[in-house]
Amino acid sequence: MSNGDVKMSNDMIASTATRHRKLSAEEIAEIEHEMTLYPDKKAVGLEALKIVQKYQGWVSDESLLGISKYLGIPASDLEGVATFFNLVYREPVGKNVILFCDSVSCWIMGCEGIKKHIKDTLDINYGETTKDGDFTLIPVPCLGDCDRAPVMMVGPDLHRNLTPGAIDKIILDYSKSKSAE
């Protein structure tokens, strides 16, 4: 490593330390509550990531560094957890996250056709967000509702027995709920 590289990496460390976002009072209140439930504050790391995501929509570098500073957990450990779990988003997502089940029972019941219909309608693939920021499409392992396959979640809601027609209605409903606000 040349001297220039050393300097750059030191600068990066110094800059990340100042880049943290100060957590909001609501976020801190929820994190503090979680800390009463576990004997070790490290256990709260994942909870804190989820709490921040609830308020911010996703977990930015600044948020992650904010949690790291608040809980005293190294950012690398926290990042290791954040990138491990499917439901922690390290990139911005749309207003509605579609968790699309493509595991075996849904596959047998034709989820590939449903996925294609979503893709054609919204013009997004797995991991992408619509241009208007309304929907993000993410695959999810078996949602545990296999007798009503194919299924998917939109935000907190589970939708069952999906057909192309049902998809059209779901997309319309969630788009409407936005314009009604």
């Binding site: 490290k42 256990a43 994942l46 450990d77 595991s103 047998i108 296999c146 007798d147």
Partner: protein, 426 residues
Amino acid sequence: MVNNPLTKNIDMTRPPMDIAAYEANDGYQSIKAIAKGLSSDDVLQQVKDSGLKGRGGAGFPTGLKWSFVPRGDDSPKQKYLVVNADEMEPGTFKDRLLMEGDPHLMIEGMIIAAYAIHASKAYIFLRGEYIVSQQVLTRAIAEAEERGYLGKNILNTGFDLDIVVHTSAGRYICGEETALLNALEGKRANPRAKPPFPQVSGLWGKPTIVNNVETICNLPGIITYGVDWYHGLTKGNDHGTKLFGVSGKVKTPGCWELPLGLPIRELLEDYAGGMQDGLELRAFLPGGGSTDFMLPQHLDVTLDYDEIAKVGSRLATGTMIVLDNKTCPVGMVGNLMRFFAHESCGFCTPCRDGLPWVDEIFNEFENGRGNEKDLQILHDHVTYLGPGRTFCALAPGATAPLGSGLKYFKEDFDRHIKEKCCPYKH
């Protein structure tokens, strides 16, 4: 007498019973029995005598598992109970039904288990996507606390118990109990080396029992109605009832509580209504994605742990996935391989590198580029990823549908090679 102890209160057309309705149907009687003097040793003995086996997939005797927890004054004071509610086995949809349909049954079961192993703290490790379960359980826990069934000095027994609902953030590997414990401690969910086993050194190094939701839900019946009643439930060799599910192209897919020991045919034809019109049964996975395929010739095998093991598969979660004659078997196995490749925690090499390789070969087959050499590589992986070669049971689980699929669907793999396409699509 009650013959459906797991689902007697469940009616999904209405909200779950509140605590008063639950109590009115023999609910929390076991806690009252404990208050009247039933000792933790008695509870442990009754659960051992019941013959209950773990319903999460492995089928290990529950009482025996509990008996490994150190007891007595020189054992660690803090012990933990953890309920594995991270249901994510492909094709498995039974724990959701129990939690959303009758949350108090699980809470009562948790009190029994915690009392038996002297745990004063219990965590429900719940799948993050199970939002309704979380709401229903949280409300039921508050009701139980209000009644004095949870908290300090439960019904003046001197026994304390707090239950915390922990929602996870989505990884199949958390179903492996030591990976689950790491996740609960806020770490990446890599499995731990065993020994030490969690019963001795688990959550934060303390003795810990991890039980599946359905296992826990068996306990209130055993304590309330007794071991003899429990032994009277079965139609086969293993004891109790179990939730059995059927998904795939059958007429009426669903989940039912049935005694162990019924023929598979009865589940598939009487309860699930048989195959949809115009389709024939090609094969089925008897208990989720990590089990070996079984064939129509196995329909008279009974739903018992040992009977299904005799034909080379496992009862596991009891939720059957049905393959019909117009769905590509190679595609189905490929779907499972993609799942396992995605869900590998990445800790050990055979699993981290082997499963994506297998997945990639299935993609080649799907796109008409599979060849004999690829087929041999798949066969080799059944050995490379098998039991004893990996750090945990995830990859060996994947070899169950892979190995049995290669054996039973050889002609379909050959046709993919010969016709250079998926014959089911053309």
